[in-house]
Symmetry: C2
Subunit: 281 residues, 2 copies
C-alpha cells in the first residue's frame, strides 16, 4: 500500500479501485476526486453503512457520482487485525445479478491461502446486511457494558437478525443473504470481538457514559450510530416493526436509559416466536 | 428443589415432570422409573441430543416409554450460571402443533421477571436444533483451541447453521426454528460462553489433546460427541451435504488432525454462496 496525496498520481494506470471511505464521507470524497477518476474502472466498496441524508447504499452513492460501471461490495466477518496476521477467514464479494464474469474475477483476485471468497449476486442485500448489523452490534456492546450476560446477548443476536432481515427484505434483499456470511457471519464477529468499534462504543454507553461524550472521545467513525438513525427512519416510513433498533434509538438520540429500555424489551407481551417474527414483514 | 431417592415419593402429587436426564441415558432412567410415573402428567424435556442407537429425539423416547401425553421441550440460550444469578434471558417452549392451551400454560409457568418465554409449535425442529448446535459448538471450541480467530469462528457459525438447518428441514423441521432462539440463539451462547461443556471439550481437542483422553477426564456428558455420530449417520443416509459435521467426525472418531481438517474446509472449491447453501437441501 502506497499513500499518495496527488489525485492524478493516485489513479494513474489503475485497473481496480477499492473504496474504503466511511459511508457518510463517500459523497464528499468522491466529489473532490471525481475529475480524476478514470471511467469504466471497476470499484469495490468496503463501507458498511447507509447515507443519512439520502438513505442510499455505498454502491448507489458511487454510481450517482461516478457514473455506471462494474461495482462490487466486499463484506463478511473480517476483523482487520486477524486478516493482517494471516488467520483464516471467509468473505463475500457481491455484485449485481448478471455480472457473473466480473464476480468471478473479483473472487479470484481476493482469494488467498487463508481467505476464502464466496460470490453473492444480491448486492443490495449484502450492503444492507453490512450496515444493519452495526446497529445490533452497538446494542450488543451496551449489554456487555451492563454485564447482562451471554444468554440475553444471544437472544439479541437472534432477534436482531430477524428484525434487520425484515427491513432488508422489505427493501428488496434476499433473506438468504442475511442468514449468510455478510449477515449472520459478520454480525457474530462484530458482536463478540473485543476490537469492534461499534461494540466497544456500545460497551461504554452500557457502563453509563453519555453516547455523545463517548463519540466525541473516539477517533474515527462508529458506523452503527448514524445507521441507527437511518434505519429507524426507514422502518417508520415502511411501518416495519424493529423493537431493538427503536430501543437503541431511544438510548442514542432520546436520552433514554439502557436499563429501562432492556426491561421494556423483556416485558413485551409474550407471543409465539413465529407470529412475532412474521409481524410486519 | 428437593432430592428424593425413593421413586414413589418422587412422583407423589406431581402436576408436571421436568426431565433433565442427558439424552443417551433417558431410556435407562425411564425404564427404571416407568412403574412409578403417573399417567397423563405432562412432561417437559430439557435434554439436547439424539439417541445414538435409535436416532430418536428426547420427546420420542419419553413417549415410547411412558405413553402418549402432553410433552414440551424447553430450549434456547440459557447458560445455567447466568439464570441462577437472575440475569435476563429468553427461552422457547415447544409443543406439538394443536396443543395451544398446554403451550400457553407452559409459557406462563416458566415466565419470570427476568425470563421471557416464546411459544413454538415445531417440537421436532426445536429438539433437532438443540441437539445439532452442540456439534457446531464442539467445532467452535476446536477453533478456539487452535487460536484461529473470530473471523473463521463466525464463518463456522454461519455455515454451520446452514448445514444443520439443511438436515433439520430434511427431517421435517421448520427453517424458522433454526433461525430463532432455539437454533441461532442457542448456537451463539454455546459457541461463545467459556462455561459451555461442548465448547470447552473442543477447545482442549484444538490444543492438541486426544478426544478420548479429554472425554475420559471430564465429569458428565458432552452431548455434541454422540450427537456428531448420530448426525453424520443421518446425513449420509439422507445424502445431505454436511462438511463441518463430517470434518468434526474425522477429528473425533477417525483420528484426523484438526489443522488439516480446517485447511481442507478452507480449500473447498470456491462457489457462489447460495448455490452451496441450497445444495442437497
Amino acid at each position: 500500500v502506497r499513500f499518495v496525496a496527488d489525485p492524478v498520481a493516485l489513479f494513474k494506470d489503475v485497473t481496480l479501485i477499492i473504496c474504503a471511505v466511511p459511508t457518510q464521507y463517500i459523497r464528499a470524497a468522491l466529489e473532490r476526486l471525481k475529475p480524476h477518476v478514470p471511467p469504466a474502472v471497476p470499484i469495490v466498496s468496503i463501507a458498511k453503512g447507509i447515507e443519512i441524508s439520502t438513505l442510499k447504499r455505498p454502491s448507489q452513492i458511487i454510481t450517482e457520482l461516478l457514473g455506471s460501471r462494474f461495482i462490487a461490495a466486499l463484506s463478511g466477518p473480517s476483523i482487520a487485525g486477524e486478516l493482517a496476521r494471516g488467520l483464516p477467514a471467509t468473505m463475500v464479494v457481491a455484485t449485481e445479478g448478471g455480472n457473473g464474469e466480473f464476480a468471478k474475477w473479483m473472487q479470484e483476485l481476493f482469494t488467498t491461502s487463508f481467505l476464502r471468497i464466496y460470490r453473492n449476486d444480491d448486492l443490495l442485500g449484502v450492503e444492507f446486511a453490512g450496515a444493519l448489523k452495526n446497529v445490533i452490534a452497538v446494542a450488543a456492546g451496551i449489554l456487555d457494558g451492563m454485564r447482562a450476560g451471554n444468554n440475553v446477548k444471544a437472544a439479541l443476536l437472534a432477534r436482531g437478525l430477524v428484525e434487520i432481515t425484515r427491513l432488508g427484505v422489505a427493501m428488496g434483499a434476499k433473506p438468504e443473504t442475511f442468514a449468510g456470511l455478510a449477515g449472520l457471519g459478520d454480525l457474530v464477529t462484530t458482536c463478540f470481538s473485543p476490537e469492534g468499534r461499534n461494540r466497544s462504543f456500545g460497551q461504554r454507553v452500557g457502563q453509563g457514559e453519555k453516547p455523545q461524550v463517548v463519540l466525541a472521545s473516539m477517533v474515527g467513525v462508529v458506523e452503527g450510530v448514524p445507521t441507527c438513525e437511518s434505519v429507524v427512519r426507514l422502518a417508520r416510513a415502511l411501518r416495519i416493526e424493529m423493537p431493538i433498533a427503536e430501543s437503541l434509538h431511544g438510548v442514542l438520540f432520546e436520552g433514554l436509559n439502557p436499563r429501562s429500555q432492556l426491561a421494556d424489551l423483556m416485558a413485551r407481551e409474550s407471543k409465539a416466536e413465529m407470529q412475532e417474527r412474521n409481524a410486519g414483514g
